[in-house]
C-alpha cells in the first residue's frame, strides 16, 4: 500500500439516510483530513435541519464511475425493451390491478 502525504485535505463524498427505512442518498462533498473528521463535518454541513439519521462518507478518489461518453452504448439499448415494464401487458379490466 502506498502512503501519500498532502497539504490540501482530501475530498469525500457524503451520503445521508434521511430517515429509518430509506436508503442513503448522495448529497454532496467536503474536504476532511480523515474519515472521523469527514463524518463530523458532514453532520455540520449537511444535516443542520434533521435531514438525516445516518451518514456515510467515502473518499472521492475511491469512487469508480461509468464514462459519460459511453452513456448511449450503456443505457440506450434498454429503451426498446418495453416488455420489461408491467404496462406493456394489456389484461382484462377486472385484472388491471395485477
Amino acid at each position: 500500500m502506498t502512503t501519500t502525504t498532502q497539504n490540501e485535505w482530501p475530498l469525500w463524498e457524503v451520503f445521508v439516510r434521511s430517515k429509518a427505512g430509506l436508503d442513503h442518498k448522495h448529497c454532496g462533498s467536503l474536504h476532511a483530513a480523515d474519515s472521523k473528521l469527514a463524518i463530523q463535518m458532514a453532520r455540520d454541513v449537511y444535516t443542520r435541519r434533521q435531514e438525516g439519521v445516518s451518514i456515510w462518507v467515502v473518499r472521492s478518489d475511491q469512487i469508480v464511475a461509468s464514462d459519460p461518453g459511453d452513456k448511449a452504448m450503456y443505457f440506450d439499448p434498454a429503451e426498446d425493451k418495453v416488455y420489461r415494464h408491467p404496462t406493456f401487458y394489456e389484461l382484462p379490466k377486472s385484472l388491471d390491478h395485477m
Binding site: 467536503l30 474536504h31 483530513a33 480523515d34
Partner: protein, 333 residues
C-alpha cells in the same frame, strides 16, 4: 445570501476559434443539449469558455457566502436576546454551509479549494459588493435579512435551473434554507416597529435608508452594460436578466415596507399603471464600481479578517493532516 450578477464583471477573451472537426462535433452536441434544456454534468464535455465562466461565477458566489458571515458575525455577541442570538448563529452557520456547497460545485470543474481560497485572499477574486458595507446597529441585522437576503433569493431561485447540474443542485439546497433568513429578518424588524421605542423605530428606518441602494445594486449592472449576459443566457447559466430581477425585487418590497411602516429612500419610487410596475430613481453606479474595485467602506477590513482566520487556522489544518498521515502510516505498517 448571494453574489450579485458579477459574472458579468469578468474580463472574458472571445471564445477561441474551433480547432478541429472533433471539437466542432462536440460543440454541436453540447449546444444541442443546452437547447434541449439538458443538464451538463461535471464529466461531460463542455467548451472552455463555459467552464471558465462557471468557475468564476460559482467561486464568486462561494466567496460571497463566506465573506457574508462577517457583517453578521459582528453582532452575534451583542444580540439583544438569547433567542435572537441563537437565530443569528444559525443563520451565519448556514452562510458558511452555503459557501462549502458552492466551493464543492466549483471544484467539480477542475479547480482546487486551495486555488479558490488563494484567489480570494490575494484579492484576485471578487465577492458581492454588499458585504463591504458596515453593520452599525442591531437593526442592520434585520434589514440584511429582509433586503439583502430577499435580493439574494430573487437572484438565486432562477439559478436552481442552471444548465450546470452541480451548481443547480447546490442552489436548490441553498434556496431551501434561505427563506428562513429573510423571514427572521423581517420579523426582527417588525418586532422593533411594533413594540419598540421611538428611538428603536428610527434605528430601523436608518438601517433601511442605508441598505436600500446597495441592495438593489446586488442585481448587477443594467442589462445594456452587461456584455457577457447574453452568452450566459444562451448557455442557461443565467435565466433572468439583471434589470428584470431588480424590478421584481422592488415591486415585491414596496408592499412589505408599507406593512413594516418604513419608507424606502427613493423620492422617485412610484407605481406606474401603464407598466404595472414601480418606477424608481437613478442608481449611483459609480458607487457600485468603487466598492467592487476595492474601495468600499469595509473592503480592507473584510479581506484582512478572512486572511487572518485562514492564517490563524493553519496549525489546525496541519495538525489534522499530520494526524491523518500518521494513522495511514500506522495502518500500512
Amino acid at each position: 445570501m448571494y453574489t450579485q450578477a458579477m459574472d458579468t464583471m469578468g474580463k472574458d477573451e472571445a471564445p477561441k476559434a474551433i480547432r478541429s472537426a472533433e471539437d466542432a462535433r462536440l460543440q454541436e452536441r453540447f449546444d444541442a443539449r443546452i437547447d434541449a434544456g439538458d443538464f451538463i454534468e461535471a464529466k461531460d464535455w463542455m467548451p472552455d469558455h463555459y467552464r471558465k465562466t462557471l468557475v468564476r461565477q460559482i467561486s464568486q458566489h462561494a466567496h460571497s457566502e463566506i465573506v457574508g458571515m462577517l457583517p453578521e458575525g459582528n453582532w452575534i455577541s451583542r444580540a439583544p436576546t438569547l433567542k435572537r442570538k441563537a437565530i443569528l448563529l444559525a443563520k451565519v452557520q448556514d452562510e458558511g454551509g452555503h459557501g462549502l456547497y458552492l466551493y464543492a460545485a466549483a471544484e467539480t470543474l477542475g479547480t482546487s479549494r486551495d486555488q479558490l481560497f488563494d484567489a480570494l485572499h490575494t484579492g484576485k477574486a471578487k465577492y458581492s459588493s454588499i458585504f463591504n458595507y458596515p453593520t452599525l446597529t442591531w437593526a442592520d441585522m434585520g434589514t440584511i435579512g429582509w433586503l439583502v437576503d430577499g435580493a439574494a433569493i430573487m437572484n438565486q431561485v432562477p439559478i436552481c435551473r442552471c444548465s450546470y447540474a452541480p451548481y443547480a443542485r447546490a442552489m436548490i439546497r441553498i434556496c431551501r434554507e434561505e427563506s428562513f433568513h429573510q423571514r427572521q429578518g423581517f420579523e426582527a424588524l417588525l418586532t422593533m416597529m411594533t413594540h419598540g421605542t421611538e428611538a428603536q423605530k428610527a434605528m430601523v428606518q436608518d438601517a433601511v435608508n442605508r441598505w436600500w441602494w446597495p441592495s438593489i445594486m446586488m442585481f448587477g449592472p443594467p442589462d445594456d452594460e452587461s456584455p457577457n449576459s447574453a452568452q450566459s443566457m444562451r448557455w442557461g447559466i443565467k435565466r433572468v436578466s439583471n434589470d428584470e430581477l431588480r424590478q421584481r425585487f422592488i415591486d415585491a418590497t414596496v408592499d412589505q415596507a408599507k406593512l413594516l411602516g418604513v419608507t424606502l429612500p427613493d423620492p422617485d419610487l412610484k407605481w406606474n399603471e401603464a407598466r404595472q410596475s414601480h418606477d424608481f430613481g437613478a442608481i449611483d453606479w459609480s458607487e457600485f464600481k468603487r466598492v467592487i474595485a476595492g474601495d468600499g467602506p469595509c473592503n480592507r477590513e473584510r479581506l484582512a479578517a478572512r486572511v487572518k482566520a485562514w492564517d490563524d487556522g493553519a496549525w489546525v489544518r496541519e495538525a489534522a493532516t499530520a494526524h491523518a498521515n500518521k494513522q495511514t502510516l500506522k495502518e500500512a505498517a
